[in-house]
């Protein structure tokens, strides 16, 4: 084991040195010689028929090189959806084409219908204003209920409906669930909204297309969480550029949160333009464009029912959800409200019946897709809010009600009623830890103190489970994924003993450059600083599926582990050859190979050097070189879980909510770097609290985005957040991946929203207000209205 910086060590993030000193290299920092600049003309109406687009004046403006409209891409393929969902009646989902540029119709405010390429960005932006687009505004489809009821106002005329699919999970369990609810002694019902969020990564999207007429090679430098998937979509579906002629490079990326998983039309456009012009073409999103055209998150409307015995034993969960997919299907938009949501609807509980119905709805709004948590925050919010309400109705303590229904540690592997097999967990241990950390005994005293100051204090409890390590190809294939979701790593030991590890996962804040070397260093007994992670460039790394769904360490890290095992195996052969003994007699420990029962010993560095100067190798048994690749496809998802508590103070005069404490007890399995994990949880908590209290993407009835700037869309700031207590010591190892890890990137954003809302409702209830629910964001206006309405 590495003396310092191996598994479990809180090594400082090496990438922070460049990030914190302004030396990161982001896409927009790259400007090849002779770069031209691209600006888009975007729709100001939510639904409109394009009669004509006159680009003559724009084309004549100073510096303008060329102008594109949707007409130029009419023959090019559409940007596809990655998951096929079948409706309850067996019909496949509706998949209207998503073009590079809008053609014939614009379908949401911000839908790009033309692009200007000019010598400077300012010239491109000026010329966009000179484009004369004759677009007839049509009635917009905004509200999901109206969208489903209305068969004449359509987002996509060619599919004849605004419903993408009507999905049942698990359809075979429907009748039994209905029956169980009908006969149940107690049923708690709650209707709730999971508010639409705008991701707002600090770095806006940016794409640069290059074309080399000498070789016919294309290069796309872009803000992506998964360069190989982007290359695959461009090559196989949108533009038909052979993969061996297209490099996709995602350098440093300043935040993704899901919004940079997907392939966007701007990426295809800059490539096409670069080919046409024989010059690099660069586009950088403005903040306004980001609000209008990045894939948004959440936006569910749900009715959930919890049926239980009078003693609180759960009998059934049943939900009906409308999920907004916006105007076009973004790449994962159909998976997020279904398999990343419905499959988690049994929560941490031994409930025998679960039935989930989700209708996905097209509207004239920006596309909606996975955003930090992706489906699991929606599932957790519905479950944990209705459980809280049931506890009140039954007169039970909310912790006791949860504990009564927890899956117990001796029940694993546990087949949940929503179709997943949880491999490990210990929810009672998490709750024990939470109860101790939250000082529940002292709550009444704190509440009295708050009351003295005229504030209503409340306590919110929540437990969650999520499915991470989004991968198992066999499982996701059954569930509708059109790709397998393994990952890959190549470990290259260089002749002088240092190591390059090429990985398919992309790091944009997750700390891979620090954590992955800790795994390898631990296995090889070498200094982690001698190991370098290479990621983000399809010309350098093996085909991987990128970073999302808290999968990088569990899936790609496991590939790194397997490739390193292969390295040890081959190095053992070389060591045995060097020490003139049989491989089975060779031990490897602390970076040294030795022959059992002798003092013969060679170091890992000696073996590496020998691998590249193989003067006397038995070549039929040992090839020169020391480089191994592994593709890792796990057997199951991983199942992180947690128990959260939050205390809030509500100002009864203004309705303002202050979060006094937030405690996160998470089970992430083995932890490679506890400091990075803590940071990931803190970030997730901030985003979850943002959703709970502040953030809301609001469209008016005409489909205009009203919260379209950082003046109008409230992001969480430091003074909105308490000091977090983050603890991941109550861990149960993942049983099926070699590192035993589960994934921590999204947990905070999944666990915190219901915790906060539970606390606010608790404060109001204790304060004598009969308020059962407040939709997020729990703004002062909404709280005040709930108290006084």
């Amino acid at each position: 084991m590495a003396a310092d910086g191996g598994m479990g060590h809180a090594t400082k993030r090496r990438e922070d040195v460049r990030f914190l000193t302004g030396r990161g290299k982001y896409t927009d920092d790259y400007t090849p010689a002779k770069t031209t600049y691209c600006a888009f003309a975007r729709s100001t109406v939510a639904n409109g028929k394009i009669n004509s687009i006159d680009t003559k004046d724009a084309a004549g403006m100073p510096g303008v090189v060329t102008v594109f409209t949707g007409e130029d891409f009419a023959e090019v393929g559409g940007n596809p959806a990655g998951w096929l969902i079948n409706s309850r009646d067996g019909e496949p989902m509706k998949e209207p084409k998503r073009p590079v540029l809008a053609h014939g119709k614009v379908r949401h405010v911000g839908d790009a219908y033309a692009a200007v390429i000019a010598e400077t960005l300012e010239q491109a932006m000026d010329a966009v204003e000179a484009i004369d687009a004759d677009i007839d505004e049509l009635d917009a489809v905004v509200n999901m209920v109206d969208a489903l009821a209305n068969s004449t106002t359509l987002v996509h005329d060619e599919i004849g409906t605004n419903q993408c699919f009507d999905w049942g999970w698990i359809e075979d369990n429907r009748a039994a669930t209905d029956e169980a609810i009908k006969n149940a002694p107690h049923v708690t019902t709650l209707e709730l909204v999971n508010n639409r969020l705008v991701p707002n990564a600090m770095e806006p999207r940016c794409s640069i297309g290059e074309y080399d007429p000498g070789t016919g090679d294309y290069k796309l430098t872009t803000t992506s969480q998964n360069p190989h998937l982007t290359r695959l979509l461009i090559s196989a579906f949108v533009m038909g550029i052979p993969e061996n002629k297209l490099t996709v490079h995602a350098p440093d990326v300043g935040g993704g949160f899901g919004s940079k998983i997907y392939h966007y039309g701007e990426e295809a456009l800059v490539l096409a333009a670069a080919k046409k012009l024989n010059r690099p073409v660069k586009w950088t999103s403005t903040r306004t464009e980001a609000f209008l055209s990045d894939a948004h998150g959440r936006d569910h409307v749900t009715k959930i029912e919890l049926a239980c015995e009078r003693d609180g034993t759960f009998i059934a969960f049943r939900t009906e959800t409308m999920a907004n997919v916006g105007a076009y299907l973004s790449n994962f938009s159909t998976a997020t409200p279904t398999f990343l949501h419905g499959t988690l609807m049994a929560g941490n509980y031994t409930v025998p019946n679960v039935y989930v119905n989700v209708k996905a709805v097209f509207t004239n709004t920006a596309p909606v897709d996975a955003y930090r948590g992706a489906g699991r925050p929606e599932a957790t919010f519905s479950l944990e809010r209705v459980i809280d309400k049931a506890a009140r109705e039954l007169g039970m303590d909310p912790i006791a009600l949860r504990r009564k229904n927890f899956i117990k540690p001796d029940q694993y592997p546990y087949a949940s009623a929503a179709g997943l097999e949880y491999d490990s967990g210990n929810y009672d241990a998490l709750m024990d830890g939470l109860e101790a950390a939250a000082d529940l005994a002292g709550f009444e005293a704190r509440r009295a103190e708050s009351a003295k100051n005229g504030k209503l204090r409340g306590l919110g409890i929540n437990s969650y489970i999520e499915a991470c390590g989004i991968a198992p190809s066999n499982l996701v294939g059954v569930l509708g994924s059109r790709v397998g979701l393994y990952d890959a790593a190549t470990v290259r030991v260089n002749a002088t003993g240092n190591i390059s590890v090429m990985v398919g996962a992309h790091s944009h804040g997750q700390g891979h450059e620090t954590a992955f070397p800790q795994v390898v260093a631990d296995m090889l007994g070498v200094d982690p600083m001698s190991i370098e992670i290479v990621h983000g460039d399809t010309s350098k790394i093996p085909f991987g599926m990128g970073t999302y769904g808290s999968r990088s360490l569990a899936v790609c890290g496991s590939a790194v582990f397997r490739a390193t095992e292969k390295i040890i195996k081959k190095a053992t052969l070389i060591a045995a050859h060097m020490m003139e003994d049989k491989p089975e007699n060779v031990d490897f420990e602390d970076g040294d190979f030795s022959v059992k029962g002798t003092n013969k010993k060679v170091s890992f560095g000696d073996v590496a050097l020998k691998a590249y100067i193989p003067h006397d190798f038995p070549l039929e048994d040992i090839e020169p070189g020391l480089e191994e690749t592994a593709f890792y496809d796990p057997a199951n998802f991983t199942y992180p879980s947690g128990a959260y508590a939050c205390e809030v103070e509500v100002d009864p005069d203004t309705g303002k909510v202050d979060i006094c404490s937030m405690i996160a007890m998470d089970d992430f399995g083995n932890v490679v770097n506890p400091m990075i994990v803590t940071g990931q949880v803190q970030g997730g908590l901030a985003q979850g609290i943002g959703q709970a209290l502040l953030e809301h993407g609001i469209y008016d009835e005409n489909g205009q985005l009203l919260s379209g700037s950082l003046m109008d869309y409230a992001m969480p700031r430091a003074d909105d957040l308490p000091n977090f207590v983050v603890d991941h010591s109550h861990a149960t190892r993942c049983t099926h991946n070699p590192i035993g890890v589960k994934g921590c990137g999204e947990a905070g954003a999944i666990g915190s929203p219901p915790t906060v809302v539970n606390a606010v409702v608790d404060a109001l209830q204790r304060g004598g207000h009969d308020v059962e629910h407040i939709d997020m964001p729990v703004s002062p206006a909404r709280v005040w209205e709930a108290m006084n309405g």
Binding site: T44, V45, A46, V109, V128, E129, T288, F291, L292, D700, N702, Q704, L705, L706, S707, G708, S709, M711, D712
Partner: protein, 171 residues
């Protein structure tokens, strides 16, 4: 955004009715109106400069007068495109009635909507903005009818009502 209000104008209904159908009056009363050409029957082409919160834009568009019931009511509809700033649309249903004092009671019902950058950046102030525009329009209209003498005091500042358009027309 909807807004309804009424004004008591110290001028006979025939004069008020004639005034609202006069292009020069419209031009003088529409806040920020730089150009207005056309007829009641054909509609008007207008250029209006307005600043909504952080967005200042030149709107080119159409003003139409419809639903005309002679001497009693009409609808003024305007829509303008402000290029990258987005668009604004509005309609005012206006009706006229005699008052006991021999003046005219003018009631109006305004509906307005904005799109594009105006909506994204200006929505939180758009209600107040619409009210301000409507108030300015009808205030100028009223002042022009009630105080036709001080035509020389025309203020070029678009934020302040231009007084005395009748005096100017007559002069």
């Amino acid at each position: 955004m909807n807004l309804a209000d009424a004004r008591d104008i110290a001028a006979p209904r025939t004069a008020v009715w004639a005034a609202i159908l006069d292009p020069e009056v419209l031009k003088a009363c529409i806040p920020g109106c730089k150009e207005l050409a056309g007829t009641v029957d054909e509609g008007f082409e207008a250029v209006v400069v307005q600043k909504v919160g952080p967005v200042k834009a030149t709107f080119k568009g159409q003003v139409d007068v419809s639903d005309i019931v002679e001497g009693q009511s009409l609808t003024l509809t305007g829509q303008g495109k402000g290029g990258p700033a987005g668009f604004a649309k509005g309609a005012a249903k206006v009706s006229f009635a005699d008052t006991a004092e021999g003046g005219t009671l003018l009631t109006y019902d305004v509906e307005a909507k904005v799109g594009g950058k105006l909506a994204q950046l200006g929505s939180r102030i758009i209600d107040g903005f619409t009210k301000k525009l409507a108030d300015q329009f009808f205030e100028r209209f009223q002042d022009g009818l009630e105080d036709p003498t001080d035509a020389d005091d025309v203020e070029e500042d678009e934020e302040k009502p231009k007084k005395g358009w009748i005096g100017r027309m007559l002069g």
